[in-house]
Subunit: 268 residues, 4 copies
C-alpha cells in the first residue's frame, strides 16, 4: 500500500566550543558566526532537518536535560577547551546517547569527554598542522552516510591525523583518508552505544574552511539522517530491574541461598 | 624449523572484592578463603599460568602501578562494593588494558567501574536470584576460549541475567546462556581496547559453588591464555604525538595558517 | 528546513519455494495461497511498502534480471527444494545484493543457495520439530528491526533451531531465541555484502501459523524498511578497474617491470 | 604452575599458482624457485613452523583431502590462473577452513575461488601496476599479526590496490596502505569462517621482490601463528543434526503437526 509520508523533521543540535572563533583572527574570518553556526546553517538547507546551536559558554553548556530530550542528533566540535566541559554535562550527554539520541563527533572531538567516555578507549592519534592535501575514500559502498559522493573527495588544506587511531573496532568503516605527507586515517567510523547511533567524522581543523565544503556538508547531513533513531527514547537507560521468581516467564521454584530480598535494588 | 619452546608463564592476578566472603555465612562456607583464592588456585593447576590475588581492602586495592605493570591478565570479581573502588585505581586499570594487559570480567563485574569505563555503555541487564538452571551454549565453534568443551555445559544453580545486555557489539560472541525461567544472555563476549584483550564471562553468583565447577574453571583458564598479549606493553597508551612537517615521510611544504607551533602539545 | 516528504514505496518481492503448500495438507490449510502470499499480504498493509510474489515454479523462478533490477528488497523462504534453484539464478540474486538490493532470509532459507553463497559459511545448526515454545529476546535496544516490540515476544509452537549456528559474526545481533527444550539461537542477524543489506530471521516452520503472527509480521516489515538501500544500484558490482598511471590522482612515474599493458583487464 | 611447553610445530602449506614464474623472465629472476618456495623458505627459518609447498600443476593441485587434513595453515598465492583451480578442490579448501584450518590469502588471491567463496562478496578493487611506493600502517595496536613491527613499514615498489575493496566488514583491520599515487587500501584484514581463522594480506605483486622483504616475511609468519587453531578439526563441518524430542535437554512433549519423522535428515 502506498501512502504519502509526513514526518516531523529531525531535530539536530550543533554544539561548538566557540573558543578559537573568539580568540583567533584567522578562525573568526573563516567562521564569523562560529563553526557551529556554519554547520547548522548548512543542515538547515536540507529538507527534513532543523538545526540549532549551543556553545560551551551557555548555561549548562546549552545542554540541559530538557534540551537533550528534545534533540534527535547532537553534533560536537571541541578542541582547546575539552577540560572545561563539566563532568556532569558530559555524563548527561552520554546517557542521552544510551537512551537513543544520535551523535556525531567532528575532528578534534576525538578527545572530547563524551567521545572518550563512549569509546572506552584512549582515542589518540598522530597529527600535523601543515595545510596538506587530504583525500577521503569511501570504503563502504553505497553506505547512506556516503550518499551522493563518488568513490572519493578531496580537501586541499587540512590538518593531518594519522594511525594508529586508538578507538575500538567500529561497526563499519565508511571513510579512510590519504594524506599528502604519507599517513592514512580511518576518517568515518560508526558505532552504537545503547540505543544511540554514533558517527565519527575526521575533517574540520578550524584554520581551514572545511565546513564550507559541499562534500563535507553532505556527509554531515547524511550522518544526521543516519544517526537519527525514530524510536521513543529509552526512559531509564541504566536500569537493571530485578525479575521476581513469581513473575518468571516459565514457572520455576526458588532454590538455594539468596543475598537479596524480592524486588530489592541490585548493587552498583 | 622445529625447536623446543620455552616461555615464561602468564602472570594472572585475580582481584576480589572480598566483602560477602567476610559478611555472609553461606558465601564463606563455599569460599572459605574467598572467591579470588578459589579462582587463583584453579589457575595455578594449569601449566603456563601463575596466579596471585589482590583484594579491595589492600592498599591501593592491591593494584599499584608497579603490580599492574607485572600483570599479564587481570581478573575482576566485584558486586556489593563497586563504588568503593577509587576512581584513580579504576583509571589506572583501564590504562593498563589500553597498554596491553589482558582483562577478564566475571559475573557482577558487569557493573564494575573499569568494565563500564572500557565499554562506554550502561552495561545493564535484568536479573533474578532463584538458583535456577543455566545452560551455556558455545556459539563460536572451536574458539580458544571454549577449548575442551562440548557444544554446551550446565550449571544447576545460578543467578539469572537476562537480555537486553547493555554492552557494545562484541568482536565475537562465544557463549549464550539459556535460563530455566525463560531468559537468554550473551554470557561470553570478547572486546579489544587499545592493545588489551577483554573477555566478559557471566557465571559466578557468590551464593553458589560456581567457581568450583570444572567447566567454569576451564573457561577461565582458557580466557587467561586468550587474553594474554605477549607484546611489550605500550609505554604511553594515551600519547598523541605531533609529527613536525620536516619529518613527514613524504616531503611536503607547510601551507596556510596554523594554531600550533612546532612540537607543541595538542589540546586535550 | 521542514518539507513534506514524498517517497516512492519500497518494492518488496517475496519468493516462496511453494512446494509444501502444494503437497502437504497441513501446510495448505494454514497457507491456502502459499506462505509467500501470506507474507506479501501482510507487507501490503504497511504504508510505504508494495509487495509482490514469485515462486520456484515460475520461469527463471520468477527472478529475471529485469525483475531483480526493479526489486528493492527480496525475501526468501525455501526448504525442501534448495537444490532445484538454478545456480545461474542464485548467482544473479547474489550479484543483485552486491549491487544494493536488500535481502531477508527466512527460517529454513539458512540453507538456501544465495544465503550460503553470501555468508561463505556452512550455515548449519541443530533442529527439532516438536511444536515447542520459542521466545525471541531483543538484544539490540531500539534497533529499527525491533521497532514496536517489547523486550521479547513468544511463539507458542515452533521448530527448534539450536547453536552453534555456522554463520560469520554479524554486524549486529538483534534477536536471540530461548527454546522450551533447552536450546538458544541467534534468531535475528544483520550483514552487509557489497552495497546490499541482509537480515536473517529465524521463525517460520511451515506446519505452524507463524507468518500470521502480528509480531512476526512486524519484524518482517521492519526488516524490509531497514534493508532498503535508497542509493542507485551499483552498475557493475564485480568490476575491478585498472587506473592508468597517467590518470593517477597524484603524479607518479612508472617504475620497474610490468605484466600488464595500459587499460588491460586484470586476471580473474 | 610453571612447566616447559613442548609443542609440535605448526604445519604450513604454501600454495602457489606457479605460472608467471615459468613464463615471465622478470618473475623467474626474482623467484627462481617460485614465489611459493621463497615464502616457504622464510617460514622455515621460524621456530615453531614447518612449511611445505604445493602448486596448481600438482595432481589435485597438491591439495588432496589427506594433505589438507595434515595442514594447520594454508597460504594461497594466485593471479593468472584462478579459473584453472577446480571447483572441487576449491570447495574442499573452503570446507577445510570451516573445519578449523587457518588460511592466509596473499595479494591477487583476493580473486581466488576459495577467497570469494569464503567472503561471499565480489572482492573487487581498483589497481595500477606502476612500481609505486606503498606504506603499510598498523591500525590495531600490538595485534599479534603486527608483532615486531613499528607503526608502519614501506615497500618502495608495489602494485597499487585501491578502495573500495569489495569485502565484508572484517573482525579487525590490522593494516591500511598509503599509495604514492593517491589511493588507500585495507591491506590486512581478519575473518573467521566456521572454526577457521582467515587473514588477507595485500602486498606481493610478482614483478617485485616483495616476498624477500623482511617485514613482509615477518607479517606472514606472524599470520601463520595467529591463524593456527590448535583445536582438533571439526569432523563434519556441514552437519545439521536432528535432535529427537526424547533426547531434548529439557523434557518437552511433541505438539502440533510435523513434516519429518524421527532422526530423519533435514532438507538441503
Amino acid at each position: 500500500m502506498t501512502a504519502p509520508l509526513s514526518k516531523s523533521p529531525i531535530r539536530a543540535l550543533v554544539w561548538g566550543e566557540n573558543v578559537h572563533e573568539q580568540k583567533n583572527a584567522t578562525v573568526r574570518e573563516i567562521y564569523p558566526n562560529g563553526m557551529h553556526s556554519c554547520i547548522a546553517d548548512a543542515l538547515n538547507t536540507q529538507d527534513g532537518i532543523v538545526a540549532e546551536t549551543a556553545v560551551l559558554q551557555d548555561p549548562e553548556h546549552g545542554l540541559s536535560a530538557d534540551r537533550l530530550a528534545k534533540t534527535d542528533v547532537l553534533l560536537w566540535w571541541g578542541h582547546a577547551a575539552h577540560g572545561d566541559v563539566s563532568d556532569e554535562v558530559a555524563q548527561r550527554v552520554v546517557e542521552a546517547v544510551w537512551s537513543g539520541m544520535g551523535m556525531i563527533f567532528l575532528h578534534s572531538a576525538h578527545f572530547a569527554k563524551p567521545f572518550k567516555m563512549l569509546m572506552g578507549a584512549a582515542c589518540n592519534l598522530t597529527w600535523r598542522e601543515a595545510g596538506e592535501r587530504e583525500r577521503l575514500w569511501v570504503t563502504s559502498k553505497n553506505h547512506p552516510i556516503a550518499a551522493g559522493l563518488g568513490d572519493y573527495f578531496e580537501l586541499e588544506n587540512e590538518e593531518m591525523y594519522g594511525e594508529p587511531f586508538g578507538v575500538p573496532e567500529p561497526l563499519e568503516t565508511v571513510f579512510i583518508s590519504w594524506f599528502q605527507g604519507g599517513e592514512v586515517f580511518r576518517s568515518g567510523l560508526t558505532y552504537k552505544r545503547g540505543a544511540g547511533n554514533i558517527f565519527y567524522f575526521r575533517p574540520g581543523h578550524e584554520t581551514y574552511p572545511t565546513y564550507h565544503d559541499a562534500n563535507v556538508q553532505r556527509v554531515i547531513s547524511n550522518g544526521v539522517t543516519w544517526a537519527f533513531n525514530p524510536a521513543a527514547r529509552v526512559a531509564n537507560p541504566t536500569d537493571a530491574p530485578n525479575i521476581p521468581v513469581e513473575t518468571a516467564l516459565e514457572p520455576i521454584q526458588e532454590r538455594g541461598p539468596r543475598l537479596h530480598s524480592d524486588g530489592e535494588e541490585g548493587f552498583r
